[in-house]
């Protein structure tokens, strides 16, 4: 079988998804056997971002204008394009600045702004059509394989669209939110990690981002009733999901309160 051409593109992020993809996950040899890594900066400075690609994986949030142009070009040249990692899927860590005016952020970091051309941080799907989301920070292994095998077998991928609580209960964990009064973001967070943090008796901090139609204001209210400070509640909803409609609703509610 001919190997499929794969491109891995990095925008504003820690490059952790590239690293995860190239070295860490369980089936690196199988992935290498099925895909030709035409472009991945982490492994080689060679290669060209010019396609065509059978599959493009895009990590990182879009925070500069040139990224938009390149991303659109990649989309045109790729049969399938997946956003990988929280930054690409929901904005993630780079999107923390989404709630602050852009110029304020630039001034805080740089002395000379003449060469700085940052734009508001957005997820990849703000600019191009995406065939699927491999969520998480680091990304969910199962979802990565689902994306890759779906491309290899020509089917539509299937990603979970429910809360962390379902995965958590399937594992039989005692609920840390109810039993231990921890401000767990699980109820509004999209599944995929297998409830990693709650399984370690820690509150979920929503690195997978909001699940579709999540009712985050109701959870923010609950946190408030638990005695969590206003600032901490805002932090919880802006750590990864500051640029998402679902979590913005909670933040707006807290601000208005």
């Amino acid at each position: 079988m001919n190997k499929l051409r794969l491109g891995f593109f990095k925008y504003s992020c820690c490059m952790g998804c590239s690293y995860f993809f190239a070295y860490v996950h369980k089936h690196v040899p199988e992935v290498l056997a099925s895909f030709d890594f035409v472009f991945i900066k982490l492994l080689s400075s060679k290669g060209t971002p010019e396609g065509p690609f059978d599959i493009a994986l895009v990590e990182g949030a879009i925070t500069e204008a040139w990224q938009v142009d390149e991303l659109k070009m990649i989309r045109e040249q790729s049969k399938k394009l997946f956003a990988i990692g929280s930054c690409a899927v929901i904005g993630g860590i780079p999107a923390i600045k989404a709630t602050t005016p852009e110029l304020d952020v630039e001034k805080r970091v740089y002395k000379n702004l003449s060469s700085i051309h940052s734009i508001k941080p957005h997820a990849v799907d703000a600019y191009v059509k995406v065939d699927g989301y491999i969520r998480g920070c680091p990304p969910a292994e199962r979802d990565l394989y689902e994306a890759l095998t779906s491309v290899l077998t020509g089917r539509k991928p299937d990603f979970p669209q429910y809360s962390i609580c379902i995965e958590c209960k399937l594992k039989g964990n005692i609920c840390v939110l109810i039993a231990d009064n921890m401000p767990c973001m699980g109820p509004v967070t999209n599944a995929g990690c297998g409830a990693l943090c709650p399984s370690m008796n820690r509150a979920c901090y929503s690195c997978f981002g909001p699940m579709k139609q999540a009712n985050s204001p109701a959870l923010a209210k609950k946190f408030k009733a638990m005695g969590i400070s206003r600032d901490d509640i805002i932090r919880k909803f802006t750590e990864f999901g500051a640029d998402t409609i679902e979590f913005r609703k909670a933040v707006e509610m807290v601000y208005e309160d």
Binding site: T149, T153, G154, R155, K156, D158
Partner: protein
């Protein structure tokens, strides 16, 4: 003990493109497959999952339509499973299990007038009913089919209309004319606003299925209606027929729901205590009218 969820292998004996994005797959398996009209199978493929698909042709008990025990599914590629099937070829394997559910009460319709109303791919589950009618024409009174689709590109079984119209009255309508010049079936007649309603032999009306209800002669007390299509269409067709004096209990509809098991376990198709997979998919309108979260 055999797991009822265990899929059975079937071979694709033939594929016929039916309409835009719709193909009819003739399948056969190791044993002669028998089912009731209106029943469905869970069609699937490993790695892709399963989806409930109604049968569009079956070997019926005491009937000879498909003598060899093969069966047909007419499938529109829209979801995960159905989209995957679109690239299948003759000779390929796929998996199914079934038949499941309660079908159309054809026995009840004998000696009565039968009104079949279908929209879009909703004609597929009614095709076995039409086959029975054609095979045992003398058992039924007047039989009419009112069929509507978005446009003639989305219309199923057009090649069979010629045969059907010998025995049953056909009323065909489209929501919109997609491309008059290229249409092989002129002329279009205006149905909605007092125009002439043509029975088939090439004539397609423009307008909703419900517009045609007024043009079919219905004797409410001796008619039984089988309706299948988008739920919102079934709602208006049923309400229209009730206006014509038909009883809720002589109207039958077939519901489409998400299903994972088909055997009243997975719970996806539940509505107010009913399992659509087991208690349906065919219900009398009386049973499902005003069903919470439905459109009927």
């Amino acid at each position: 003990m055999k797991n009822p969820l265990k899929p059975i292998k079937a071979i694709i004996k033939g594929i016929r493109p039916e309409a835009e994005g719709v193909k009819t797959y003739t399948l056969s398996t190791e044993f002669p497959f028998v089912a009731e009209p209106g029943q469905f199978n869970m069609i699937g493929y490993p790695g892709v999952g399963e989806a409930p698909i109604s049968l569009s042709a079956i070997m019926q008990v005491g009937d000879s339509t498909l003598r060899d025990g093969s069966f047909k599914h007419t499938i529109k590629s829209v979801g995960r499973v159905t989209d995957f099937l679109k690239d299948f070829k003759k000779g390929d394997e796929l998996f199914f299990r079934g038949p499941y559910g309660r079908g159309w009460p054809v026995k009840k319709a004998e000696k009565k007038d039968v009104l079949i109303v279908a929209g879009g791919v909703g004609l597929a589950p009614l095709r076995p009913v039409i086959q029975i009618v054609l095979n045992q024409r003398e058992s039924f009174g007047d039989v009419s089919l009112i069929y509507g689709a978005r446009n003639e590109k989305n219309m199923l079984f057009m090649n069979e209309f010629k045969i059907w119209e010998k025995d049953i009255s056909l009323y065909i309508t489209v929501d919109e004319v997609s491309d008059v010049s290229k249409s092989p079936h002129p002329p279009f007649t205006k149905g909605g606003q007092g125009g002439i309603t043509k029975e088939w032999s090439g004539g397609i009306n423009v307008g909703l299925v419900t517009d045609l209800l007024d043009r079919v002669k219905i004797q409410p007390e001796r008619t039984i209606a089988f309706v299948c299509g988008p739920e919102i269409m079934m709602r208006f067709v049923c309400r229209g027929l009730i206006m014509h004096g038909m009883l809720q209990s002589s109207l039958y509809v077939s519901l489409e729901r998400r299903m994972k098991c088909g055997i009243a376990q997975c719970g996806h198709c539940q509505h107010s205590g009913l399992f659509v997979c087991k208690d349906g998919p065919v219900f009398s309108y009386k049973e499902v009218r005003g069903l919470p979260d439905g459109a009927l």
